[in-house]
Symmetry: C2
Subunit: 393 residues, 2 copies
């Protein structure tokens, strides 16, 4: 059964040390949730994911409903049996992909990245739900709050999320208000569906919407606080700059029931995580650590970067061609213990998938080490020291 326990609260900020109990084990928080988008953390076996110290992974309802389908996963015994991952698991509602792929590039906008044009797959939004075209065969699919919960019940993750309308940044306040209000009604339908048909093993998170508008976030938070959600996921557009994003997360988090679990959707930069933790966020998810790995970028503490304004260690660069040091000098991951930057560089250049796999192992372990460090320092209410260790140049 799901339970969230707060073990300690900081006296300096809203940061807290906690523990999530699920039918598949516990998660020490603050924690990072890795993306296993299509029921696979790309290139990694579950043994490798575990060896990196991972506590919890996420799969996307949107992708899995299209292939192989919730019903097949249910026949397989659920996502845990299907993938071989016996620890806590999280699924999202499908909403983010329906709307971000649908609007064309909104996913990027929400995350503050360059906006790019993609094919719009979203057909129409009604009170019932959202209709979109499958990216596999082009067939129209109607995703409703009820259907999203049914699929997430079939998938069987420990923590599931309400189906919401994820409004982009560029729309006006009226649009954002309507989307937030509809998300409230949809969240209620999600809760009703799970309470009527669920097995009481799955925890349901309400998504807090409202864009960058304080009073809308307030309304969304009030609604969520009032109902029996097991926790909250802060979603929607957080703003178009880091400052705005931090502000939105901080003010939203302050509005939420202080005893319930809070997840921040889609954010995973190291400084962003430190800020999120201070605002009371318990878990984070982001595709970046595993995605950038496949493009040759290794996450290291800032002091180990080759200077300049780099965010990551780019192992594609010729400068590491003869660098026989490990990816990061302080890392205990399998890759750092066994191979060098020069070897990974060679693999990337030779287009050997092992190159990206080794960096994925490293990045996973690094994000897990980051969260371990944050938790250890929170025990002594000394988050600043961890921040200096990870973020000082």
């Amino acid at each position: 059964m799901f339970r969230f326990e707060i073990l300690a609260r900081s006296r300096k900020s809203d940061a807290r040390l906690g523990r999530i109990y699920t039918p598949h084990g516990t998660v020490e928080t603050p924690a990072f949730i890795f993306c296993g988008t299509k029921a696979s953390v790309k290139g990694m076996t579950i043994a490798q994911v575990e060896e990196a110290g991972t506590q919890i992974i996420l799969s996307n309802t949107y992708h899995l409903m299209l292939q192989p389908g919730g019903e097949l996963v249910k026949s397989a015994g659920g996502l845990h049996k299907f993938t071989g991952w016996n620890k806590p698991m999280f699924t999202d509602s499908g909403g983010f992909q329906v709307f971000s792929l649908g609007y064309g590039g909104v996913g990027n906008e929400i995350k503050n990245a360059q906006q790019t044009k993609t094919n719009r797959t979203l057909q129409r939004i009604t009170e019932d739900g959202a209709e979109f075209k499958s990216y596999i065969d082009g067939k129209p699919i109607l995703l409703t709050p009820e259907r999203s919960i049914e699929i997430q019940m079939a998938l069987g993750a420990d923590i599931i999320v309400c189906f919401d309308e994820c409004a982009p940044y560029h729309v006006d306040k009226l649009y954002t208000t309507n989307a937030m209000e509809r998300s409230k009604r949809w969240a209620k339908r999600c809760l009703d569906t799970l309470q009527a048909h669920g097995d009481e093993k799955q925890a349901l998170l309400a998504v807090i919407q409202g864009g960058v508008f304080k009073e809308l976030r307030e309304e969304s938070a009030k609604f969520a606080n009032r109902h029996e959600f097991d926790g909250f996921a802060i979603g929607g557009s957080l703003g178009k700059s880091k400052e705005e994003m931090y502000q939105t997360v901080e003010l939203t988090s302050k509005m939420l029931d202080k005893n319930r679990y809070v997840h921040l959707l889609g954010i995973g930069g190291i400084e962003d995580i430190f800020n999120g933790v201070k605002y009371g966020i318990d878990t984070f998810d982001c595709v970046a650590p595993t995605r950038i790995a496949r493009h040759g970028a290794a996450i290291v503490k800032k002091k180990y970067l080759y200077g300049g304004n780099q965010k990551y260690l780019n192992l594609h660069k010729t400068s590491v061609e003869r660098d026989f040091a490990p990816i990061s000098p302080d890392c205990d991951c399998y890759a750092c213990q066994n191979v060098t930057r020069a070897y990974v560089h060679h693999l990337l250049k030779a287009r050997e998938s092992l190159g990206g796999n080794l960096i994925t192992i490293h990045n996973m372990r690094t994000m897990n080490r980051l969260m371990e460090d944050i938790r250890t320092h929170l025990e002594h209410d000394n988050l600043e020291a961890a921040f200096v260790e990870w973020c000082a140049a």
Copy 2:
């Protein structure tokens, strides 16, 4: 130091149970050598290669000389340190790729597969060596016997191979004779180079050439027997049918010094291995087990195939979409112990690289189990029983 010991000889055939001693440990023979073409078994960490029970892997001098170059690998401390593989390692001479890529599709012809047109990169063959164009930057490169050995010394594998002229099947007897005679002169230059500059840790194999012509194989074998090669590698064109291939391997093997180690180049089908073992072959290498894995084909005992004339279990097929059994019911590999055919099918369909990686793990373990079974049965001189177990429908 290299040493080959024969532990038992069959009384029914030329099969033998043996042990290869190298500076990086021993190899129980008959054994299968897996291809780590560009210093990586595609997609696999060294830990995964080891977990599958692998004794020895091979890298290709041709690819590594082009990138990252022998000198860089030497700076890294040799192939073992570079890759993290601390067990026995084998490199070929580069000859096979120079000539097979050079002639266009000869590699396929030699292996009895469909001939396909590829870009011809071979520029010219002289007594000095072979000139070819780099597939990376198009630069002309001269590979000589001396250069091949120097690069293989820099790579530092335990077992290395003489640079030879690998004549295709379709040329006439005169051409094959000349190539075999030149290969003899080149082999002598390889031996001289290693004896003059080597560290006595690397074992050198002579390649037995001569195509399908008995008297040419005889001449090649006589030459190799006469010189201080640590062993032999049967190479060149073995014929264009299975029958011709078996005949060529059998007659060539019979001509070789019975106390030295014999490798068969590029052959790895299960029935072919049983035949090779009977003819006295100690090790085999082939890219197939790992290559076909990436295309969805799992190696299983014949009785576990879905009938028909299939050679492999094709996990791409819709027939396994809801098959929640392991890849093979009798397999102890990581994949079979943790996931199902349906999951691997989903991954292949979703183009998740984990799908090919899981089948690679399975195929490696299966080839190692095959060789373990062959060795166990050779202890009781009962190879037939192992053949029935693996090859009976």
